[in-house]
Symmetry: C2
Subunit: 259 residues, 2 copies
DNA sequence: CGGTTCCTTGAGAGAACTCAACGTCGGTGG
DNA sequence: CCACCGACGTTGAGTTCTCTCAAGGAACCG
């Protein structure tokens, strides 16, 4: 069991943490697992240092950052759920991603100088701040960190590409549930979605009603159970089959060589 | 005028180049512009060396790589157009991206160990091969290159996220035309699309017929002109307005602080 | 208790798809 | 030289998936 199974929707998260807390808190920081995987020493101050400044983000509060503003820092989600989105001319909200503990926010802005989206909290959340200047400095001195950033961007890219495919509502929703289950480290298929139906729809290109109806379809087939945002995935294999985001195709054209 | 304005659909591209040609050819390689931008010396052998092995890729020929196989190298497009795609269970092709000269292919696979898509040529093309092991080595010694990779992945991510939004056929096609015009370095809005309507549709989540009809709608409004794949963008501003992929939204909620 | 947000369900509307047909073009071979 | 073939682009007609609009009920909060 990880420290993040318990929903972090406590008032304590809103408290401002002093830098004195940093070292202690970092021991339970989700980013720490990444550090461990990279073979970095926990005492290594470089990565922890740039993550020191914490920020608590509340739903409805001012955004973490706003589309169009200059990128001054990236953010690492420590707890909660942050959504990044844009608003089009018709006023529709397009959610570009949900960021869960351990995820970096703002990777899609590194190519430009400005944020492409606005970031707000879906539930009470906390992020660590990685100022861009310091990030560059650390990247230069620690190639492992650069590789970590590339890998994270790569994974996010793969997810975005899989989602941008021409799939049906059922396929996308099934893929979404499985993805969220995996990223939320849900146990026994027990899953508490942080976001409302409207946000799921804005992410999956579906009307909230369609999300609801499709979910009901899954429930009728006994693939999922639950009410509202508390779900239980009963038939993961069936969902996986329904999702089928990518089929590994055989090298069909490889035989044209003989012709 | 760049060396890539002329369509490279010549038989010469199919010829196998020996390593003796590398140094000379690298002077006209699109990647060179990146090297210049990064402040690297042209004589710097590290980056050029790993790009040395060339491969010619022809439409209908065996893929450059196949989804599911291990990632042994990334590929830098030197000429032509490479598409990456997946085939779903229904046999539908989902195109994840068109890669033009200067683009890297396979960035979305760095997070996993295997390619997520299959890559084939849309038109006669040529790529440079960057073996993963050497790439890692160079990244470790040259942080600028790491930043370049991150930026490239970031831009690709931003494009994928913009495209994955819930936009209409007109919005997506307009955005696609503008994006292709920019990336093909089209002059005077003169644009020769390398791919058939079917591929555009598979990329934009549209039926080929819808691509055709939407394009005709643009033509009726005098926004574009041309026949088949040869297009001329007459009203770039109108297309830009129709595309409206992202609207920079004002920090509306920023005033909640006072409440 | 009123107000708000969210979830759910129903009925009608619409955007895009499917199916079908036709003309064009370039290559191939009789 | 021309018929044939396949791939592509275009257009039309009917269908379908998803959206929009509307409404009711539940949960939460001040």
């Amino acid at each position: 069991m990880t420290p993040f199974d318990a929903a972090p929707a406590t008032a304590a998260l809103t408290a401002t943490l002093t830098s004195a807390h940093v070292k202690i808190d970092c021991l339970v920081c989700p980013v720490r697992t990444c550090i461990g995987r990279l073979g970095l020493r926990e005492e290594n101050g470089a990565w922890c240092a740039i993550l020191a400044p914490r920020r608590a983000i509340m739903p409805g509060a001012p955004p973490l950052f706003v589309a169009g503003t200059r990128v001054l820092a990236l953010y690492s989600v420590r707890a909660g759920c942050i959504k990044t989105y844009t608003i089009d001319a018709q006023g529709n909200e397009h959610i570009r991603g949900f960021h869960l503990p351990g995820d970096l926010i703002g990777l899609d802005a590194l190519g430009s100088e400005r944020f492409r989206s606005t970031a707000t909290a879906v539930e009470p959340s906390q992020v660590c701040v990685a100022p861009l200047a310091e990030l560059r400095r650390v990247v230069a001195s620690q190639p492992e960190l650069a590789e970590h950033l590339i890998e994270q961007a790569s994974r996010e890219l793969a997810l975005a590409l899989a989602l941008s495919g021409n799939f049906s509502a059922e396929q996308r929703l099934a893929a979404f549930l499985l993805n969220m289950e995996q990223r939320l480290l849900a146990r026994d298929g027990l899953l508490r979605l942080p976001m409302p139906r409207r946000d799921i729809g804005a992410y999956l290109r579906l009307a909230p009603e369609t999300v609801c109806r499709t979910l009901k379809g899954f429930a009728l087939r006994k693939w999922v159970r639950g009410e509202g945002r508390d779900l239980r995935l009963l038939a993961r294999d069936a969902l996986q089959k329904a999702a089928e985001p990518v089929v590994i195709d055989a090298p069909r054209a490889a035989f044209d060589l003989a012709a």
